[in-house]
C-alpha cells in the first residue's frame, strides 16, 4: 500500500499496465513531455519513449480515431481527452466507430480502446471545464462507462478497463485529482467493472450516486444521521454495465431511493436508474424516486456550488423522501 492522490493512482495504473503489457500505449494532447495537464501521465514518456507515449495534434476526432485504428491492429491504446468537455469533437468517432466497430466488423476487428477524460465541476472551471457527459455514452451501445471515486478504485478500475476486450470510457472526477489521498494497493490490483461499492450502510434512505458526488452524499448522510435518519450511500463506479443487484438490494431495504449526479437532470443517467426502479422495484417503494442533479443549464462559471448536487440539496431530498 502507498498513499496516493487520485491523479497518482491513475499514473500508477498506467505505468503498471505499460510495464506489464507492451501493447499498452498512451496518446493525447500534452500527455508526453508535459505529463498531462493534470499530471496523470507524468514520467511515462521518459520511461516508455515516444512510440508508446504519444503527444498528438489538437484534434479530438483524430485522437479517438487513431486509437481505434491502433487497437484494431493489436495495441491497447489509452487515449486521453484533456477535458471531457472536448470529447464532443471526437463524438462521431466514439459513437459511429468505437462503439460499433466490433458489430460492423462482426468481430473480425474490434477496438479495446480506453478513453480517459476528466469530468465534473468544483474547480471553478466554467462551462467547458466542468461537464459530466456520461449519459451520452451510456446511451451508446458498444461502450462501457466507468467513473471511479477513490484513488484505489481509480487504479483498480483503470487496470480492469485496459484489460477489458471492450471499449471503455473512463471518466475521472477532476476535483478529486489532487484533493484526495488514500492507501492504494501496490502492484497488480483490479476492481471488476460492473460492481458497485457500498460506501455507507443505512436503513432509511438509499442515495445512489457515483463520481465526486459520493462525497456530497456522504456529507448529507452525516447530517441526516444527526436528524436521526439512517442513509445508505451506494457508489455505482460503473455506469455501463451498472450493478442492478446492488441498487435493487438497497432499494428493497430502504424503500426510499435518492439518485444524485452532477450532470443535468433531463435524460441524465439518473433517469435510467429511476426507470429501472420504477419497472422492477415499484412494489418496494415507500416514497417517490427522487433525483438531485445539475440543473438543465450549461455549467455556470459563477455559483457552481449552487448548480452542483451539493450536500444541502441531497439532504433536502433525503428529508423529502423520509417525509413522504
Amino acid at each position: 500500500m502507498t498513499v496516493m492522490t487520485f491523479a497518482k493512482a491513475i499514473n500508477d495504473a498506467l505505468r503498471h499496465e505499460m510495464k506489464r503489457d507492451e501493447r499498452v500505449v498512451v496518446l493525447g494532447e500534452d500527455v508526453g513531455v508535459n505529463g498531462g495537464v493534470f499530471r496523470c501521465t507524468e514520467h511515462l514518456l521518459m520511461e516508455f519513449g515516444p512510440s508508446r507515449v504519444i503527444d498528438t495534434p489538437l484534434s479530438e476526432s483524430a485522437i479517438i480515431g487513431v486509437a481505434i485504428g491502433m487497437a484494431m491492429n493489436g495495441l491497447r491504446p489509452v487515449a486521453e481527452i484533456q477535458f471531457s468537455d472536448f470529447i464532443f469533437g471526437g463524438f462521431e468517432q466514439l459513437v459511429s466507430n468505437l462503439a460499433k466497430i466490433r458489430y460492423r466488423n462482426a468481430g473480425h476487428y474490434f477496438a479495446p480502446v480506453v478513453v480517459r477524460a476528466p469530468v465534473g465541476g468544483g474547480v471553478r472551471g466554467g462551462m467547458y471545464h466542468s461537464q459530466s457527459p456520461e449519459a451520452y455514452f451510456a446511451h451508446t451501445a458498444g461502450l462501457k462507462v466507468v467513473i471511479p471515486s477513490t484513488p484505489s478504485d481509480a487504479k483498480g478500475l483503470l487496470i480492469s478497463s485496459i484489460r477489458d476486450e471492450d471499449p471503455v470510457i473512463f471518466f475521472e472526477p477532476k476535483r478529486l485529482y489532487h484533493s484526495l489521498r488514500e492507501d492504494v494497493p501496490d502492484g497488480d490490483y483490479t476492481v471488476p467493472l460492473g460492481k458497485a461499492r457500498l460506501v455507507r450502510e443505512g436503513d432509511d434512505v438509499s442515495v445512489i450516486t457515483y463520481g465526486a458526488t459520493v462525497y456530497d452524499a456522504l456529507e448529507a448522510a452525516e447530517r441526516a444521521a444527526k436528524e436521526g435518519v439512517s442513509v445508505e450511500v451506494l457508489d455505482l463506479r460503473t455506469i455501463v454495465p451498472y450493478d442492478w443487484e446492488a441498487i435493487s438490494r438497497s432499494v428493497r431495504k430502504t424503500g426510499r431511493p435518492v439518485i444524485a449526479h452532477e450532470a443535468q437532470r433531463t435524460a441524465g443517467f439518473g433517469a435510467e436508474i429511476a426507470a429501472m426502479i420504477a419497472e422492477r422495484e415499484i412494489y418496494s417503494l415507500e416514497a417517490p424516486v427522487l433525483r438531485v442533479t445539475g440543473y438543465d443549464t450549461p455549467f455556470p462559471l459563477v455559483h457552481e456550488h449552487h448548480y452542483l448536487p451539493n450536500p444541502e440539496r441531497i439532504l433536502r431530498a433525503i428529508r423529502r423522501s423520509v417525509a413522504s
Binding site: G65, A71, N97, G107, H108
Partner: protein, 354 residues
Amino acid sequence: MRGKAPPDPETLGLSSEDLTRMYRTMVLTRVLDRYLLRLQRMGKVALYAETIGEEAVGVGTGYALRPEDVLFPSYRELGAFLMRGVPVSEILDRMLNTVDDPLKGHEFAIFGDRRYNIVPAPTPVATQIPLAVGYAMASKVKGERIVVMTIFGDGATSKGDFHEGVNFASVHKPPVVFVCRNNQYAISTHVSKQTGSSTIAQKAVAYGLEGIRVDGNDVLAVYLTTRAVVERVRDGGAPVLIEALTYRLGAHTTSDDPKRYRTEEEVQRWAKLDPIERMRGYLIAKGVIDEERDVALRAEIEGLVAAEVERALQRPGLEPAVIFEDVYASPPWTLLEQAEELKELSGLQKVTKG
C-alpha cells in the same frame, strides 16, 4: 498518356499477366456491379453504391498492395476487393446477407474480412481515415513492414476527419497512403462546390506531404503510381496523398437520380473515357489480347457471376438472434436480458427475413 502513342508494357515494367489480371478484374467488377444493381432492384439487396466507371481506381490501387497490406476502403471499392482476391461468392453472401455473410448482416459495407486485410467501410464518410492512420501507427510500433491504404471520395476531403487524420499522419509519419477517388461528385454536389481548390492533390501542401494527381481512368497509371508510392512508404517514406481523377458513370446509390443534377452530355463525355474500354484498346493495340479472347473472357465472367448469384440466392438467411452478436466481447447483463426477450418473442411471432 493521351495524344502520343502509349508506351509498351515492357517499358512500363509490366508483364502480360499483370495486364490481363487487371483487365480481367475490371471486367469482373463491372459485371458483378451490374448484378448487384439488379439484385437491389429485385429487393434482394437493401442499398447499393454502383462502381461503374471507377473500376480503374479500385483495381489499380488493389493491385499495388501486397496481401499483408491493409485496406480501409469507402463503400465504393468493389474493384479493389476483387483485385485483392476476394471471391465473388463471398461478396454475394455479404450483399445478400446469407447465413455465410462474413459480417453477419450487421451492416451495409460491400465487404470486409480480416482474412483479406480489408476493413469494412463505415457509412459515415471519411471516418475511416484516422483509423487507417492509427492502424499504420501501430504497425510502426510493432515493427511490421506493412502499408495501410485508405480510399475515400472527393466529398470526404471536406470532412474534419480527413484533415485531422492526414494532419496526424503528417506529424507521426506512419506507413499510410491516402487515395482520393475523385469521381467529381458527392451525391449531387460537384467537386467545384465541394472545395475552392482546383485539385485534391494540392491539399497535401497543407500538411507538408506530397500530393500526386493521376488519371483515374487509366488503370496502368493508377497502378504504377500507387505501387511506387506504396513501396516508398513501405521503406519508411512519408505518407502521400494520391488523387485519382475519375467519373461516376452511374447513380450515387440505388436511391439516387442523377438526372436531377447533371446533364446527359456530361455523362456521355465521360462514358467515352470508360476505363475498361481504354484498357481493352490498349491490350488489343499491344497484342496482349485479341477480340476473340476478349469475348471469351467476358462470357466466362458473365457465366461465373451468374452462377454465383444463383447459388447465393438459394442460401438461407441469418437468424434474428444475430442482432445481439458482436456488440461486446462481454455483454452487459442488460443486453443479455434483452437477447432473452427476443428469443421469447421469436417463439411467438413469425420470423421474417430482415
